[in-house]
Amino acid sequence: MLRFILRRLGASAAILLGASLLLYVLMVNAGDPLKDLRESNASNRDELIRQRIGFMGLDQPWYQRYWTWLAGVAKCVTLNCDLGTNRSGVEVSSLLANAAGSTLRLVVLATVLAAVLGIAVGVLTAVRQYSGLDYSVTFLTFLFFSLPVFWAAVLLKEYLAIGYNDWIANPAFTPAQTAVSALLFGFVMQVVLAGSRTRRLATFAASAAFVALVLPYLQWLNFFRYPQLGFGGVVVLSLAVALSATATSAGLRNKLVLYPVLATVLAGAIAYWATFGLMENPTWGTLALLLAAAVAVPVVLGRVLGGHLRGRATGAGLATALAMAGLTTLDHIFRAWPGFLSLKPRPISTIGSQTPNFGGTFWESFLDRGAQLLLPTLLLALISLASYSRYTRASMLEVGRQDYIRTARAKGLGERTVILKHALRNALIPIATIMAFDFAGLIGGAVVTEAVFGWKGMGELFRTGLDQVDPAPVMAFFLVTGTAAVLFNMLADILYAILDPRIRV
C-alpha cells in the first residue's frame, strides 16, 4: 500500500511540474504585458514601463522567470512560499489567501449540496427507471448541466434576487398565483410519490389542497415578513420527530426507547428557554458548545435509560435532539428576520459576499451572508447536479443487477433495506472518485460564477492575471487548483484501493 501511495505521489508531482511549465509558457505568450502602458500618453510612462519590467522580470528570458517562480514555490516546503508579485508589485501570496478563503466558502457548500441532492435524485431515478419521473429529472439535470453559467446567473439575479426583493417589499399572492402553485405542487408530488391511478389522484388532490390553503394562510399571518415558529411550534414538531424516530427504531410501545427520547424532548424544551438570551445574539463558539450539549444529552440519556436497547435509544434520541436544536435555531433566525429586513430592505444583493458596513446582530449578519451565498451556491450546485445524479443512477442500476442483491431480496429483506443498505453503499464507491474530481473542478469552474456575483475569489485572480498577461497570479491559481485536482484524485484512488481490494496493484 505504501509503495502504491508513493508511486501515485511521484506521478502527481511530475504531472504538476509538467503542467506548470506548459501553463507558464502559454501565459508568457498570451500577449503583451506592457500594452496599456505603450498606448499611454503619461509623461512618466518610461518610468512606469521600467518599473513593471522590474516587477515582472521581463528583462529575463522566460525560462529564467519560470525557474525563479519554481524556486519560490519550492520554498513552500519550509512553509515560506514565495509566489512572486503581480505586475504592480503586490505580493501574490496575500492576494491568494483572501481569494482562496472566499472561493472555498462558495465551493464547499455547493459541492455538499450537489452531492447530497444529486445522489438522492440518482437513487430515486434508478429505482423508478424509465418512469415519467426518470425522464423528466434526466431532462432537467441535463438542462441545468448545459446552462451557460453567466446567462443562468443573470436569470437567477433577475428573478431570485431582483424579483424576490420587489416581492418581499409587499409579499402577496394573487389567486391565480396560488392556484398555479397548488396545481404545480400537486402534479410534482404525484409524479414523485407515484403509485396507482387512484393513489396519484389522491396525492395530487391532497397536495394541491394543502398549498391552496397554506399560501393564503401564510399571507394572512404576514409570514414572509414576520415568520414565526415559537416555542409551541418547536415542541410540537420535535415531538413528531421523537415519536417517528421511536416508531422506526423500536416501536412506540418500547418504553426503553420511548422514555429517553421523550426525556430528550423535555430537556430540549428546558434548553429552549434556558438558552433563549444566549441564542438571541450568539457567537460561533457558543453555537458549537450548544451543539455539543445537544449531542451529549441524548447520548447520556440513552445510555442511562436505554437498558439493553441503549444503542437504539441513543440513535433515536440523537435524531430528536438534532432536529430540536435545528428547529430552535430556525426559530431564532425567524425572530431575526424582521430586523434583518429593516436593515436590508432588499435582502438579496446581486453582488458581493456580504453587505458593506452591515452591522446587525449575529443572526442578522448570518442572514446577510446567507442571502449572498444563496444564488452562487445554487448555481454551482445546479450545474454539478447532473453528473452526480447520472453517475449514481448508472451505478445503482449496475449494482442492482448483482447476485447479492437478488440474494438479499430472496432472503425476504424489505425493499428499503435492499436499496439503501446493500445497493447504495456499494454504488457509492465510484461516486467517491467523482466527488474528489468535482471538488477540484469546481474551484476552477467557479471562475465565471465568482465574477458574475462579484466574489473576489480564485477565479478573479485567474481572470485578471490572464487579462493583464501577468503570470504570477495565474500560476498561483494553477498551484491551488492543480494541486487540489491532483491531490483529490490521488485521495480518491487511495480510498478506492482501500474500499476495493481488487484495485490494488
Partner: protein
Amino acid sequence: MRLKRISKAVALGATFALALSACSPGGPAAPTGSPSAGSTGKYSVEPTNTGLADLGDITTASGSIAASIGEDEFISYNGFTPEANNAYNSVVTERIQSSFSYFGTDGAVYQNPAIGSIEKVSDSPLTIKYTINPDAVWSDGTPITTADAVLAWALQNANLTVDGKPIFNSVAQDLGDQVPKGPKGEASGKEFTLVYAEPNPDWEIQSLLIHPAHIVAEQGGLSTAEFVAAALAGDGAKLEKAADFWNTGWNTDPGTVPDPALALSSGPYKIDSWEAGQSITLTANDKWWGTPAATEKLVIRFAAADTHVQALQNADLDVVEPQATIDTVAQLEGLGDDVQILAGDTLSWEHLDFNFAEGNKFGGNPELRQAFALCVPRQQIVDNLIKPLNPGAQVMNAREVFPFQENYGDVVSAAYSGQYDAVDIEGAKRILEEQNATGVKVRIGYNAPNPRRTDVVAMIKSSCDQAGFEVVDVGSGDFFSKTLPNGDYDVALYAWSSSGQITSGENIYATGKPQNYSQYSNRDVDAAWRKLATSLDPAVQLEQTKAIEKLLWEDLHGIPLFAHPGITAARADVLNVRRTAAQSTVLWNAEQWLRAPR
C-alpha cells in the same frame, strides 16, 4: 494630478471595446439633442461650468451612497507609488487627499479654493505663488503648511539619492529638475513660491500637496523642521528612513484599514472600513473645513463592470461606470425611470497614423496618403459604430483638442477645411491612377483582439478597395511589441489617452521623440511645439496648437477618428452625479452626491 495621467481608461476602452459604444458630448460645449431618456443628470444645484458646482451652505446628510467603477481592489493610502498608481486606487485617495487643482468634466483645469490658490507672479523665471487656506488641517488637527509642499516636492525629486538611487519610489521624478530650489517659504507657514528653471505651461497641475509631512518626518525620526531642511538641502541620507516609511509604511494587507493616526485625510472624506475583495467605505472627515460632504458615507464597491446594471437595478449600487457597450446601454435604458444615464466622451481618441519610416510607400508619398484619407469613411464609422448608442457622437477633426472642449471649433476652423469630411472614391481613384499605384496594399495594424477596431478596418476596406487600394487587416496581439516598433504596417489604428497636460503631444509629433512611433518629422512642427512648450501665454499656446494641427493636416500625419465613448449611470434618486471625460472617473465630485429627499 499626475495620478490622473496614468491611463487605465485606455486599457478599458481599448481592450474591452467589445463594441460599439455610447458617445455623446460630455460638457455643455457641444450641445446635441440626445434622445435617450434622462441623459442629463439631476442636480440639487445646477452646475454653471465644467468645474465643481457651488452647493452653498449644506450639512452632511446621514446615509450612504454606493458606487463602483470596476472590480479592482484598493491598494494603498499612498497612491503615488507605481505599485498603487491607477484609477481604481485614485478613486479612494482623491477623496481623502485634496490637491490645489483638479480637472473639470471637459479636462479643463480648475483651482481648488478649499486648499488654497495658485498664482503666477512672474514669467521669467516662471514663479508661482501658492497660498494655503488658513483653515486647512489634516484629520489629526495639524495645519497643512509649506512643509507638506516640501514633502510633495521632495518625493518627486529624483536628485534626492542614496548610492545614486532616488530614495522615493514615486511615479513622478522630475519636479526636482524643474524646480531645483524647492518650495520657498516658512516651513510652518501657509505661503510658498516655486521658481521653475524652464517655462512650464503645465504649472497649474503640479502636485504640491500629497501626504502629511509631519507624519513622514516623525516616522523617519526627524522633526518636521529637520525634514524640510534636509529635503531642501538635498540630504538624501538623512531622509532615507523617512523615505522608506513613505515607500511602504502606509501599505496594508487587503482589508486592513491603514492606521488612522498615520493615514491622515486632507479631503472631505476619510477611510472608515475596508472589506477585502468587496468594498471600501469612506466617511465624512470631521476635520474638513470646506463645503462638507453631502452624504456621510461613500461606499466604493469592487464589482466587475458586467454586474453593474443589475446591481443598479437592485439598488446594490447607486452610481456605476460600466464599459460602454451597446448591450450595457440597452440594458440601462430598459431600467426606465429608475436610473439616469449619463453618456459622454472620454479623453481617449482613436486615430489612423501613417508610417513615415524610411522606405514606406505612404510616408514618402503625400498623394497616396491623401487618396487614402479621401476614401476612409469616417462619418460612416461614427454613424455605424458609435451613433446607434448616441446620436451626439461626431467625427473628430483635431488631435490636441476634443470636440467637447471649448477651443475645438476655433482650432478646427483654423486647421482643417473639411476636405476629408465626405468619402470621395472617384477622387481617390484618380490620384491612385495618376500615381500609377492602383492595387497598392495598405496594411492596417492594431492591437487584436478588438472587435470595434476589426469593424473599423472592415469598413475602411469596403470603401477604399473600391478606389483601388487593397486593404489588409494585420491586427495582431503583438501590435505594440512588434508591428509598431518594427514598422511592419502602413497605417496604425490605435488610441491616445490625453493626460490633460498641454505639452504631452510634443512626445508624439516632434522628431525623434519617444512616442513618435510613426517616425514623423517636420521641422515646422518641431519648432511650433518648442514654442508651445516654452510659452506661458494661453493665446500663444492656442496659436501654436492651431499651427500644429494645420501642419499635421497638411502633411496628413494621420487621420483622427473619434473620441472614445464612456457611460455612467446612477439611481434616479441620487443628485449631482456628473460624468467627466477626465480620468478621475465619475467619482470626481462624489462629495457632492446626495440622495434626493423623498
